[in-house]
Amino acid sequence: MGIVATLQQKLFRWRSDGTAPLRLGQRRIFIIPSRGGLLYALALVVMLIGAINYNLALGHALVFLLAGLGIVGMIHTFRNLHGLIVTPGRSAPVFAGETAHFQITLDNDRPTPRPGLELEAESGNPVSATVNRKKGAKLKIPVSTQNRGWLDLPRIRLSTRYPLGLFTAWAYLQPAMRCLVYPQPIAAPLPLASPTPVGGERSGDGGQEDFAGFRERQPADSPRHVAWKASARNAGEGPLLIKQFAGGAQVELMLDWQLTDPVLADETRIGILTGWVLAADAADAHYGLRLPGVDIPAGSGERHRQRCLEALALCLP
């Protein structure tokens, strides 16, 4: 590791802070005069010269009071960040080109509010926040996306100029957070559905038509599918039950890498497949996805859609 990198790590914490809540201590907080502060200092110097020149005792007192106010303001600006608790949260997947939002919670256990906070992951796009006394604030930090795959949260700058705006105090945060970026979908007509069920005689699970029995509810199941009457029969003793349907002779749509035009670039082909997944999902179709090295059997529903999109986001053709 070079000197620059070491310095960056030591000084600016250019490394992950992990996922645990983090309390801002004094070693993390930097502070320098802001542009307004420099203007203020310049005004004070001119005022002091004026006070000396005209021999104004009260002018001296005013300048000294304002200088004291500047120092006090510096400490209060520092204090506005000090002791703030930062907890990383979740981030919902987005399509490439959209803006990812990383959720971060700021907690204030002090009996005074902390206004005028700004969080910024990319310059020029800050989020302002006020954390009230003894409260927390959930913030979503926008980060623009370009490429599919995992997007790590870049280093965040948490800054404040409150109360007087004469100083800027800031801290760098790098919580271990990432956001899944789906490929950018390219609209294209769906390939023809294969009339024969893929996978032989086996009837697909998770169909919508014929009742086939109950099974235990899993966390991924939508509450809409819970068989409340059947579950109520054993009144809270047993697990919740889910009605299962069998699809019967359902048409299956296999979205295959091979179906895309091989002359196109890989990313374009992935984009087309993504568009297909979205279109198939919108049409409530029963679809599967086949990529080099990945084979997702046909299915439908939100969870299935996510699984397909995730496979597309992370696929290495």
Partner: protein, 644 residues
């Protein structure tokens, strides 16, 4: 240039800026030309209207025209853009103009900084206690504005003001330390603009009938004196200003040529005193007759006036001493005597005739006595004498017979010169008012006076006060008692009710303490203070060290406060832990798994003498912690106190 959304000024922050502009510029209304105040006010109103109706800001060219027009107006009014008054006028105008183009937070920062700067400009005109208080309040408001700008719309006005108050209060220790220890540089650093010290009142170096009467109507303080010993008798308190030896028929002038050195022979022990002169823009020190020891940078001229090297254009303190009985120039230069016998070639024939008649066969002392007897018999002392004609002194002596001190002094000196006795007019102050609260003698403009000096062989220059012959109470008790009711004297000194006087004494004593200790805090006082603090012979280096360490201590204290984290958790639990610490001190340790009741049982076995007190603590704790009320904290606290 467009403004990023997060830097834009939120609508509800704008009224704070209006308030800032108003609070920092309004007091200038009192001494600014009216049109300027009107323009500034109109711009403020325009800005408010614009904000209220939420209309678009005026275009760049319009603002430019306003700036050019305003500057041209100021240039026309003051003939410059730079001096003190013109500079202040420019700042006031810019401040109110800036309100017309408030877009971003940066614009607002300019307004606030300009506001702080404008606060200073008020001190150019007044440094009184009320000004100080008003400006402190204005500074509080400006600081609140600054907080509001950076706190965003969530902050409520009351909280903002409260927080601003906290910040200002925390800044005060820094101010005190800096005020006391910051190395004071005696100003000015460069030549001050010519209008720096205008508008000061005081004696002038000429005297015409009515000039002192006009000054007397001013109740301002001319100077304050503190004697080392007891207060000398009132009728000896003659504070000498300019001595006027030349007369052109109406006006008495200072002789500007060379004067021989004064030869002073003091006949009584010197009286030491300290005088604090208000600014009067002239060089005389208004020393008590006759000055025997003078401060540095000053000298005694040939007519016994103490003269400072530089004009007194700000409040200044001097140490002097005086000898109340003295002889001045017993052997006088013949040129001086000739000058003091000269009268204009013509004019005032009746006066000359009378003087010539007195001179025949009379000794000078007899002539003086005749003149004083004449004044005493027929004349009236008044601030409102009738107008005098071409032969002013004739008119006064033979017709109106009503006048003020300058009439008497002028007439007397003319009579003396006519009778061949060298005589001259002395301007200055007489008497003063003793404030028993702070032991200062206060001399006001209303104590301004003129008297005469005659030269007698063997005795030198002798003071003769013709006013004393007309109105002895003027000299013995002061002007308020000497004039008839209804004369245009300042209200302040006319009021004679005891409680008003006591109130006034108190107010003036406070003002004097303010002037002496705060406004008069100069390098000299700073050295004295540091010597008292055990830092004698300070140079700037030791001052810097003292200043740095004091400020460092303050910063450390504030940082400690900022980093301090209040103890967390339920106060009941904290109190319980305190009780456990008490037990531990008596060798009863509570195990982590032990319930309070178990512990109480064990205490009863191991330390029976503590059992009863501890049982009360446990009962109170259980009620406070698990009961459905907050009322039991005090019971618990008391129970723990008894455990000790």
């Amino acid at each position: 240039m467009s403004t990023p959304a997060h830097e834009a000024l939120d609508r509800h922050a704008t009224p704070w800026l209006f308030a800032t502009a108003l609070a920092t510029t309004a007091p200038h209304f009192m001494h600014q030309p009216l049109w300027l105040s009107a323009v500034a006010g109109a711009m403020l109103l325009w800005a408010v209207w614009q904000w209220w109706k939420d209309v678009r800001l005026p275009g760049r060219w319009l603002l430019f025209l306003l700036v050019v027009g305003g500057s041209a107006g100021i240039l026309g009014e003051f003939r410059t853009l730079f001096g003190r008054d013109a500079g202040v006028a420019m700042l006031v105008m810019f401040m109110n103009m800036k309100l017309l183009e408030l877009k971003s937070r940066r614009d607002a920062m300019v307004v606030v900084t300009l506001g702080y700067f404008l606060l200073l400009t008020h001190y150019l005109y007044s440094q009184s206690i009320p000004t100080g208080i008003w400006l402190l309040a204005a500074m509080w408001l400006v600081t609140a504005t600054l907080i509001r700008l950076h706190g965003g719309p969530s902050s409520r006005p009351r909280e903002t003001l409260r927080y601003a108050g906290v910040l200002c209060l925390q800044a005060i220790p820094f101010m005190l330390v800096l005020f006391l220890l910051f190395p004071r540089i005696p100003g000015p650093l460069w030549g001050l603009p010519s209008d720096a010290f205008t508008g000061k009142t005081g004696l002038s170096d000429t005297m015409t009938p009515g000039s002192i009467a006009q000054l007397v109507q001013n109740g301002d303080i001319a100077f304050r004196v503190r004697f080392d010993g007891p207060l000398p008798p009132r009728q000896k308190l003659y504070w000498r200003g300019p001595v006027m030896e030349q007369f052109d028929g109406t006006t008495w002038h200072l002789y500007k040529g060379r004067q021989p050195t004064a030869q002073l022979e003091s006949l009584s022990p010197p009286i030491g005193y300290e005088t604090t002169l208000e600014a009067h823009n002239e060089r005389w020190l208004l020393a008590l007759d006759a000055p025997v020891a003078l401060p540095a940078e000053s000298l005694l001229n040939g007519t016994l006036t103490a003269i400072s090297r530089n004009p007194i254009n700000e409040r200044k303190r001097f140490r002097l001493s005086a000898s109340l009985d003295y002889r001045l120039n017993t052997s006088e230069d013949p040129a001086v005597l000739r000058r003091n016998l000269a009268l204009p070639a013509s004019g005032n024939p009746q006066t000359r005739a009378l003087a010539a008649q007195w001179q025949a066969g009379n000794r000078p002392e007899a002539v003086i006595a005749k003149a004083l007897a004449l004044f005493n018999a027929e004349f009236t002392y008044t601030l409102q004498p009738p107008l005098l004609g071409q032969h002013g002194i004739d008119d006064f002596l033979f017709r109106s017979k009503r006048g003020f001190c300058e009439h008497y002094a002028a007439a007397f000196v003319t009579l003396m010169r006519g009778a061949g006795i060298p005589a001259r007019v002395v301007g200055g102050y007489q008497g003063g008012e003793f404030n028993p609260l702070d032991q200062y003698l206060v001399v006001r403009q209303s104590d301004a006076h003129a008297w005469a000096e005659v030269w007698l062989a063997g005795m030198g220059w002798v003071r003769v006060d013709p006013t004393a012959a007309v109105s002895p109470s003027r000299i013995e008790t002061g002007i308020a008692n000497a004039l008839a009711f209804g004369e245009p004297l300042p209200m302040l000194i006319q009021m004679r009710a005891d409680w008003i006087r006591t109130l006034r004494y108190r107010w003036e004593a406070i003002n004097n303490a303010w002037n002496q200790n705060i406004l008069g805090y100069d390098p000299q006082r700073q050295r004295e203070l540091l010597a008292r603090l055990g830092l004698p012979d300070t140079d700037w280096r030791s001052l810097a060290i003292a200043l740095g360490s004091a400020c460092g201590l303050l910063v450390a204290g504030l940082m400690g406060w900022a980093l301090y984290k209040r103890p967390e958790g339920d106060p009941v639990v904290r109190l319980w832990h305190k009780a456990l610490r008490h037990l531990a001190r008596r060798k009863v340790d509570c195990s982590p798994w032990e319930t309070p009741l178990d512990l109480a049982r064990r205490v009863r076995e191991q330390r029976p003498e503590l059992a009863e007190a501890f049982q009360r603590v446990v009962d109170a704790y259980l009620v406070a912690r698990y009961g459905n009320t907050d009322q039991h904290l005090k019971t618990l606290r008391d129970a723990i106190a008894q455990l000790r």
